[in-house]
Structure formats: structure tokens, C-alpha cells
């Protein structure tokens, strides 16, 4: 029985730093012996006890009985509550000491997986506070906190909240809503409000097909054809790519994504929906290098220089700083926020230099230093990494001469900067000379930014870099 009853500290200070405050409860089969485990103490005071997911198909659970009652002192390893899932009755035991301060979902009641069912206080002093909290959450205990991963479901007000939703669509007043047994089951499963639907079945009843349509599920009619559906799945491009399996190579290990890696993965897949194109441009860097040598002692980094240069160029080409949000319009951003891609602890994050065109080089450098420190300490606030309007990615320091970046969702363009290398150039008169040049390659959303726009932008950028005095002003 490897599933977990999770309780978490009901504070809003959640950040990227995943589940450090999560508390795990361990259910055990009613008949099996209950091995005890050591726990680590958590500084949190009142914890919510959540309906555990006891099986992969469990969507809600029924409280068969509370073994403990309010005010009982719990010690780790004790069974606290018996939960009935779609598969079995399970004793659920706690890993933590504390006092069962309040029971939010009583015996015989049903709560969706993840909903709070009780509150656990650490000391007696907190019981009153917990009880007050229970009262406020009690009424809403039936509503489901939708799991973050699921795609936007229709608002889920089951059972108790049902009358709140206007049944205005139903024409003839208090007409009885009739849904078939399977339709009701599906509605519960997909959190579709039956009252908001108009049935298409016999006598106007709501059928399973109606629910599937409302939940956006492709109808899978009865008697599914195993082989045919299989073929269809593999033949279709299958953007979800869930069905594809790869041959397993013996001895390989599987490491699940961290939260950050999952976010990257999700963003990368999302980026596939944007039509992008790329434009490259060689930029002479002799002057920039000279400037860099001068300002380096003052704490200015190459990143700050490039960000400043890009910001100044963007100020002249606002379309490159714009975003296409709905596929129908340009969204011109009022500030120029340069996101800079940083590899960190096996992840990738893009701290943002806000208003990079307005801040001077030295302030920008200082700001950048702070951001990098914050990123290392995992203390970046959402605003620090998701407010970018244009992204800069620099692999030049690794000797990469040119590369191609993926446009992050929500932005118009990203600039990939290669290494600056001495290059033999012939001028108009046929004289050869050696100059340092770097290749920049911009990926842009072609729905809003066209080739000429990018070319003009790159020309401006190139001029700024080749005459970098303006950067210090």
C-alpha cells in the first residue's frame, strides 16, 4: 500500500521549492501489520489532513469511521481514520505527532481526493485556532481544489454548490433534470455540472455522450475496437505522445523530472504551437570587447552589456518586444524586460532584468548579480522569472559559435548569442583584416514579427554593439 495521505501546511508561502513542508500520511491495509517509521519534525503548527489517493483510479473517498475523535492525541504510526475507496477500506495512519483538532469531513461523508478532511494541531493552544479554521473551510470542504496538473476544468461545484449555478439555459422553469447512471458517474469523474447541461437523449435526458462533450472528451462509443483504436492512435500525430513506447535498453535508470524540469518540459512542448523563424547576423565585437575590459573592474558583466544593448535596440523596434497572446492581435509591452537564460543545478531558469533600457549599465549589473544569487538560493519570486518580454541566451563563453534557441511561450523573440571569434574580413576595397565577430541568431514568432522587422532590429543591435559608447550613458 504505497499511497500517501498527504497533509500540507495551509500557508501561501509556496514557491518553487517543491514539497519541503509536505507531510506524508501512510495508509495501511486494514488487516496488515503496521510498521512504524521515524519522522522528522516540521515547524508548522496546524496541518490539514487530506483525503488520500488510495488507488490510481480513486477520485473520491468516503470516511468509514474516525478511529480518533477531536481532541485525541495522536502519535506517529497510529491509525486515525478508515477511508473507503473504490477498491478497499483502508486504515490511514499518521507519521506525525499532534492533536486531532477538528474533523472537517464526518463519518459517512464523501470528500474528493486532496480535499481536507481534518486538522491536526501541534499543541493544545492551537486547537481553538484550528477549530475556527475548520469552520471556515468546513462549508467549502466539498469543493475540490483542482490538482494543478489538470487542464482547466469547468468550475467544479458538485453537490452542495449545485443550486448556485444558474440553470438559465433550461427553458421551462423547474424542469427535472434526468441523467442516466453512467452520465452521472462521468459527470462526477470529470467534474461536469449536470445542471448546466441540456440533455440530448431520449426524453431530454442527459446521456454519457453529453457529459463527454461537455468535458471535451472525444466520444468513445460502446464496444471499443481494440485493434482499430490502437492503429488510430499510432497513426495520428499524437501531440500528447502518451501512447508511444520506446524499446527499453537494459540497465537504464529512470529519474523523474524535478518541478523545474517539468516546467521546462511543459514550456518546450507548448512552444511547438508557435510558428517561428530564425534570422542570423554577424556582429563585430572589437569595440565591445574593449569597453568590457574597461568596465569589468566596476562589476559589469558581458551579460549586462548584451542585455543593455538588446534593450536599447528593442526600444527602437517595439514590435520585436511585443507578444502574440491570442493569435489575433499584437500586445505591445510597455516595459522592456530582458530575460536571461541561466543553467542552474540541472535546471534552466530565466531571471529577468526589468526595464533594462532604462537602468544604467552599473545598476543593471548589480541587479543581475542579485538575481543570480536568488536563483541559486531558490528564492526567485514569480515576478523575477516570468515577466520577461525578450530573452537572451548566451553560449559564447563555451566556444559555441552559433546556435538556435527555442522561443519561450508568451514572448515574441529570443536572441541566441555565439562566441566572439577573430575572423578574416575583406573590406570594400579588397583589404583583408582580422576582426572579432560574433554570430547572433534571433528566433521570433512570425505571426507578429516578420523578416524585415528582425533584420532592422539586428541592424540596430549591431550598430549599438559596434559603437558601444552609448551603452555606458
Amino acid at each position: 500500500m504505497a499511497s500517501l495521505l498527504q497533509s500540507r501546511v495551509p500557508s501561501s508561502s509556496s514557491s518553487l521549492s517543491s514539497s519541503s513542508s509536505g507531510i506524508q500520511w501512510r495508509p495501511s491495509a486494514a488487516l496488515s501489520s503496521r510498521p512504524r517509521r521515524r519522522i522528522f519534525t516540521v515547524q508548522a503548527k496546524i496541518r490539514e489532513i487530506f483525503m488520500p489517493a488510495l488507488s490510481s483510479t480513486m477520485t473520491e473517498g468516503k470516511i468509514v469511521s474516525w478511529i480518533k475523535s477531536e481532541g485525541d492525541v495522536l502519535s506517529k504510526g497510529e491509525s486515525v481514520v478508515v477511508v473507503e475507496s473504490d477498491k478497499a477500506d483502508m486504515d490511514v495512519e499518521t507519521f506525525y505527532d499532534g492533536i486531532l483538532a477538528a474533523i472537517v469531513v464526518g463519518e459517512g461523508e464523501v470528500a474528493p481526493v486532496g480535499a481536507p478532511i481534518g486538522l491536526l494541531a501541534e499543541t493544545e493552544d492551537e486547537i481553538a485556532e484550528a477549530k475556527a479554521k475548520a469552520k471556515s473551510t468546513g462549508s467549502s470542504s466539498q469543493s475540490v481544489p483542482p490538482p494543478a496538473a489538470s487542464p482547466p476544468p469547468p468550475p467544479p461545484p458538485p453537490v452542495s454548490a449545485a443550486p448556485l449555478t444558474p440553470a438559465a439555459k433550461v427553458a421551462d422553469g423547474p424542469r427535472k433534470i434526468v441523467a442516466t447512471p453512467y452520465a452521472k458517474k462521468l459527470a462526477k469523474q470529470h467534474k461536469v455540472d449536470i445542471n448546466s447541461l441540456v440533455g440530448t437523449g431520449n426524453f431530454g435526458r442527459i446521456t454519457p455522450a453529453d457529459i463527454e462533450a461537455a468535458a471535451g472528451i472525444p466520444p468513445k462509443k460502446s464496444a471499443p475496437v481494440a485493434s482499430v483504436t490502437l492503429a488510430a492512435e499510432t497513426a495520428a500525430p499524437a501531440p500528447k505522445a502518451s501512447a508511444t513506447t520506446f524499446p527499453e535498453i537494459p540497465g537504464s535508470t529512470v529519474v523523474p523530472f524535478t518541478t523545474m524540469q517539468s516546467a521546462v518540459s511543459k514550456n518546450m512542448v507548448e512552444s511547438l504551437s508557435v510558428p517561428t523563424f530564425r534570422v542570423g547576423y554577424p556582429v563585430a565585437t572589437d569595440a565591445l570587447d574593449a569597453l568590457y575590459e574597461k568596465v569589468k573592474p566596476k562589476g559589469v558583466t558581458m551579460t549586462a552589456l548584451l542585455a543593455k544593448a538588446a534593450a536599447m535596440a528593442l526600444a527602437q523596434h517595439p514590435v520585436v518586444n511585443s507578444t502574440c497572446k491570442d493569435g489575433k492581435s499584437f500586445t505591445y509591452n510597455c516595459s522592456i524586460n530582458i530575460a536571461v537564460a541561466v543553467a542552474i543545478n540541472g535546471g534552466l531558469i530565466t531571471p529577468v532584468l526589468q526595464d533594462a533600457d532604462k537602468l544604467d549599465l552599473y545598476l543593471l549589473s548589480k541587479k543581475w548579480k542579485e538575481l543570480v544569487e536568488k536563483a541559486r538560493a531558490k528564492q526567485l519570486q514569480p515576478n523575477d522569472y516570468n515577466s520577461g518580454t525578450f530573452t537572451l541566451s548566451n553560449l559564447g563563453m563555451f566556444g559555441v559559435d552559433k546556435f538556435d534557441a527555442i522561443l519561450p511561450p508568451g514572448q515574441g523573440a529570443i536572441m541566441a548569442v555565439g562566441a566572439s571569434k577573430p575572423t578574416v574580413v575583406a573590406d570594400a576595397d579588397g583589404f583583408f583584416s582580422v576582426k572579432s565577430k560574433m554570430l547572433v541568431n534571433v528566433t521570433a514568432d512570425h505571426r507578429i514579427i516578420y523578416g524585415a522587422d528582425l533584420a532592422a532590429f539586428l541592424q540596430t543591435f549591431s550598430k549599438i554593439v559596434e559603437n558601444p559608447e552609448s551603452l555606458t550613458m
Partner: protein
């Protein structure tokens, strides 16, 4: 002529374990051997099986016994000195499974026997009950397997769309019923049982009328008239959209949505059939929980497997007070009233309603008033030996009642067992049937079976009589054969006395549970104790090992005579 024919048919190979010459002796000279009819033919179910599978062989086996019976009867009549007092030794009113079982046993005991049947031979079980429903359930079981993509995938199988032809399914059920009916008829005819057609009425002691004006006398009479579906008041059965099991078995249509009133085993089996054929089902149950009558633990597990994941919902604690068939473009409406407050609770609108609230005895017109017997809610009152009790509480001599008509245990095989018990008594051997040893089964997928007491019943009895009760359980998940079939869902439960090892009840939910129960029911019937049967050997790997494990996991305190006696927990 017939005996000559049967002699020529009864080649030596037909009775393999007997010397052919001795057999011939028996046939013609009515020797005292009683081993001509193979023992396996004694059980009703098995006999049908034999007939169905190898009818030509079977008729050869049975045929030789006919002359023997005639000879023997005449011998016995002359010996007891009252040869022509009665037309028959035994007359059975009703040729259902109970009457049939009694008739065959009576012939074996040398009684001159007749059955009176006013409808069709086979009764409810064969024509409108267990038999055709098993045909439908066989279809539903296969449909379930073919539709269970996940299950098939686990086997590595790929199957194209499973569909069905309703009429062909219905025909299968109907054909099975006719086949079993003709087997039953032939088996009685072959043994020389007279089948008298017409409605039987008791005119007085030992006197029966059948048809319009045929009167016969018999030394003993057995009432075996069975039952009909009971339809509560307020429910209008039209046979089309509001139906009973009688109509449902004809499978004239498969509704999109059917309400089943009653969640006993009839309702459960039909829910299995209808959901497999694509219907959605709503149960209406008057009691507070589904599947009353089953052991609560088994019921709970069964609900998880048979109800919750299927296209079924339910209303419990409500009566269907009024059901109106579909007409004028309106659906079937069912008014539900709260079982406690009697207030109107809800109204269902469905495509069809199946009334499966139980069965009522079929005892009207039997002439019971002629012998001063009053029925109780239609049932004929009997004592533990199935002897009929009259209105004054006295036994009516020479009159017995078996099967659904007495209401003791409304199961086909119970009726047959009661019939055999009565014949034993008629022949001078006292016999009391132990009803706690009669198994029952519900043929859902997977099946449910039980024998003896449920856990609450056992605990109540233990409280009263002051003994201890223990419970042992084993899971199908630990059984190799079940896992090979990918059918690990299941539980077997043993309720027993730890002080003496007596088996009080066994309940099984799982693959082939209906076939597995007999090891337990036989043990109860024979009075075997757990400490004895736990040494019985089971073939590996078979599902029967579920019971093997079950008996071995029981902890009996006495008579641990052997080193292996200590229970092995699994």
C-alpha cells in the same frame, strides 16, 4: 418390445463397472442389486448434464432400469398385501425440478410414481428461471471479456469490436430451456414415471384430481407447485416495458436504461446481463443497502466489483410505490417513496423496469381447503420433514409439500433435496434435510456463492448458544490459477467454531465461486470438521486451492493430532 430394444442397446460398455451378465440378470429377474443406475445420476443437475452431453449413451444407461422397476413394484405390492388400494404409491403435483428430483428418487426406491403438470415440464427453473438466465449470463460473461480491453491487453490479445445479435442471444436462452425441458421429460418417461397433464387439485386425503375430471388415488402426495414472480401493489406489469423475470428472459428488447426493482440475486444477475449488453441500470432497493441477504463483507466487495465500476446507480431505502409502463411517448415512470417515512422521495423516468422483488408461492386452486390447510402468505405450512400442517396445527397424513411452495428455501436444488428427503421418509427411512448445507449461488461475473450462516447470523447464534465464532479469509489474489486467468479479484470467507472445528458458513466471491462452494457444502452435509478436511489434497494449480488455503488458515483449538495440524496463515 421396448425392453427388448433396450436390451439390445444396453451393450456391455454402457455399464462399465458391472459384469454384463449380471446386469442382464437384474433386468429380467429383478434381482436385489440396486447399482444398475449409476450413482452419478442421482443428482438432478448432474443427470441433466449427462443427458445433455451424451444423450444416446444416457438413454442406454437409463433404459434397462425400466423393466426392473415394474418387476420390483409388483413384487413389493404383493409383499405388503395391499396391492390395488391406490392407483399410485406417490403422486407429485408439479413437474419442476423439485417434483422431478422426487420422482426419480421414488422410482429408484421402487415406488409407482406419477407427476401432474398443468403447464410445462421443468417448472420455473428450467423454463423461466435458472436455466435460461444461465444462457444469458454465458453471453454476458463473454461480452464482458471481449469488451474489457485492459484485460485482453494483459493477455496480449486483440479483438475487434464485440457486438451481439439480440434475437440470437434470446434464441440461445430459449433453445437451452427446450433442450433441458425435453431431457427432463425423457428422463422421467424413460424411468416409467407417468406424466399426467392438467392442473392438479387435492380432493381429499390421498385423492387428487387432474385435468377436468380425472381422479386418482395415491398412498402419498407431494405438493411441488413452485412459485411465480411477485409483483408488489401499485406496479402495472405490461410485459413490454414493465416486466418480470419471466419476460426479461425472453430478451425481447434491450433498453437503454432499465430500472431493476430489488437487488437480490435475480436483480443482480439481470444487471450483469443488461450492462454487458449495453444498458444502463438503476437499482431500487427497499432495504438500506444493496444485496441484502448476502454476507455483509461479501456484499460490500461485490458492490465494489459488480456495481460501482459499471454503468449502474442505485436508490436504497425506497419502495417503488407506483410504476407506470411507457405509453403515449412517455417513458416508464417510477415513484419512489421513503421506506421509513413513506413520503414521496423521487420519480424516475426510465426506458424499462424489471420487477425482481422476489417470488410468491403458486398454491391457489390446489384444493387445500378440502383438507383443512390454510396457507400463510400463500405458503403451505410444513414441519422440518416437509409434512403439511393443517389449520389446527396437526400434521396431515400422507401429504408433503416441497420447494418454493413451502417457502423454506426458494432454490431449485433445495426443492429437489426436499423431494428426495420426503421419498426417503415415504419408504420408511426417517430423514431430515439440513438446510444449512444447501449452497446458493449468484451467477454474476465473477460469481457469488454461499452455504450456511452469514457472519452476523453466526454471531447471533453464538451469542444465544454461548460459543465462540472465528472467521478466516483467503483472497483469490494468492491463487495461481486465478492469476493465470487475470481474475485475482475475489474473497473466500469461512465462519467456524474454533472450539470444535464446525463449519458454520462459507461465502465465496470470485471466479467460478458457484462451482467452488460444494467442497464446503458437502463438508457441512457430511458433518466434516475443519481439522479433518484440511488434510484433503487439492490439485495444483486449481481454483479449489482457494478453499484449501481457507481451511488451512482456520485456527481450530482441538484435535490437533498431527504435526501439520497447526494452521498456516497465508
Amino acid at each position: 418390445m421396448q425392453s427388448m430394444l433396450s436390451l439390445s442397446l444396453s451393450s456391455p460398455s454402457s455399464i462399465p463397472r458391472s459384469d454384463p451378465t449380471i446386469v442382464a440378470d437384474n433386468v429380467f429377474f429383478a434381482g436385489s442389486s440396486s447399482s444398475i443406475v449409476p450413482r452419478s445420476l442421482r443428482l438432478c443437475g448432474l443427470r441433466r448434464e449427462v443427458f445433455g452431453l451424451q444423450s444416446s449413451n444416457a438413454s442406454r444407461i437409463v433404459a434397462p432400469s425400466k423393466p426392473r422397476r415394474v418387476n420390483k413394484v409388483s413384487a413389493s405390492l404383493s409383499s405388503n398385501g395391499s396391492p390395488s388400494k391406490f392407483d399410485y404409491d406417490l403422486v407429485i403435483i408439479g413437474a419442476g425440478v423439485g417434483g422431478h428430483g422426487a420422482a426419480l428418487h421414488a422410482v429408484e426406491k421402487g415406488l409407482k410414481t406419477a407427476v401432474i403438470e398443468g403447464d410445462v415440464v421443468g417448472g420455473t427453473c428450467v423454463n423461466r428461471g435458472c436455466v435460461p438466465s444461465k444462457a444469458l449470463l454465458a453471453v454476458s460473461g463473454r461480452m464482458r471479456e471481449l469488451q474489457n480491453e485492459h484485460h485482453l491487453k494483459a493477455f496480449g490479445l486483440q479483438v475487434a469490436a464485440a457486438g451481439y445479435d439480440r434475437q440470437a442471444v434470446a434464441d440461445h436462452a430459449n433453445n437451452l430451456a427446450s433442450k433441458i425441458r425435453s431431457n427432463l421429460t425423457n428422463s422421467m418417461k424413460a424411468l416409467g414415471v407417468d406424466i399426467l397433464t392438467g392442473i392438479g387439485t387435492i380432493l381429499g386425503p390421498q385423492k387428487v384430481k387432474y385435468g377436468t375430471d380425472n381422479v386418482i388415488t395415491a398412498k402419498d402426495i407431494i405438493i411441488a407447485t413452485g412459485s411465480v414472480p411477485s409483483v408488489p401493489k401499485g406496479i402495472e406489469v405490461d410485459g413490454k416495458t414493465v416486466i418480470t423475470s419471466d419476460h426479461a428472459l425472453k430478451l425481447e428488447f434491450v433498453p437503454d436504461w432499465i430500472a431493476i426493482v430489488g437487488s437480490g440475486y435475480i436483480g443482480l444477475e439481470f444487471s450483469d446481463v443488461y450492462t454487458a449488453l449495453g444498458s444502463e441500470v438503476t437499482f431500487v432497493e427497499a432495504l438500506d443497502q444493496l444485496m441484502p441477504g448476502f454476507d455483509p463483507e461479501i456484499g460490500k466487495l461485490a458492490q465494489r466489483v459488480l456495481i460501482n465500476p459499471r454503468k449502474i446507480d442505485f436508490h436504497t431505502g425506497v419502495f417503488a410505490s407506483k410504476i407506470t409502463p411507457a405509453k403515449d411517448g412517455k417513458p416508464v415512470t417510477i415513484e419512489l417513496v421513503d421506506a421509513k417515512t413513506k413520503g414521496l422521495k423521487d420519480t424516475l423516468e426510465v426506458d424499462a423496469a424489471l420487477i425482481a422483488t422476489g417470488r410468491a408461492p403458486h398454491t391457489k386452486g390446489l384444493g387445500l381447503e378440502n383438507i383443512n390447510v390454510e396457507t400463510q402468505r400463500g405458503f403451505v405450512p410444513v414441519d422440518e420433514r416437509m409434512r403439511v400442517i393443517d389449520a389446527k396445527g396437526k400434521l396431515v397424513p400422507h401429504l408433503y409439500c416441497i420447494g418454493d411452495a413451502n417457502g423454506k428455501m426458494m432454490l431449485a436444488h433445495a426443492a429437489s433435496a426436499q423431494g428426495i428427503s420426503v421419498v426417503e421418509q415415504v419408504c420408511g427411512k426417517d430423514h431430515v434435510l439440513n438446510h444449512l448445507s444447501i449452497p446458493a449461488a449468484c451467477f454474476t461475473h465473477p460469481e457469488i456463492s454461499m452455504v450456511g450462516l452469514t457472519e452476523p447470523q453466526a454471531r447471533e447464534k453464538a451469542e444465544k448458544e454461548g460459543f465462540e465464532v472465528s472467521v478466516a479469509k483467503t483472497s483469490f489474489k494468492a491463487n495461481t490459477k486465478a492469476l493465470a486467468e487475470n481474475e485475482g479479484e475475489g474473497l473466500a470467507k469461512l465462519i467456524y467454531r474454533p472450539d470444535n472445528g464446525e463449519i458454520l458458513g462459507v461465502h465465496i466471491f470470485g471466479l467460478h465461486a458457484a462451482d467452488l462452494i460444494h467442497e464446503a457444502s458437502n463438508a457441512i452435509a457430511m458433518g466434516n470438521r475443519i481439522q479433518d478436511i484440511k488434510f484433503a489434497v487439492h490439485a495444483h494449480p486449481t481454483l479449489s486451492e482457494v478453499l484449501d488455503e481457507l481451511f488451512k488458515s482456520a485456527k481450530v483449538k482441538v484435535n490437533i493430532s498431527s504435526a501439520v495440524g497447526e494452521a498456516v496463515a497465508v
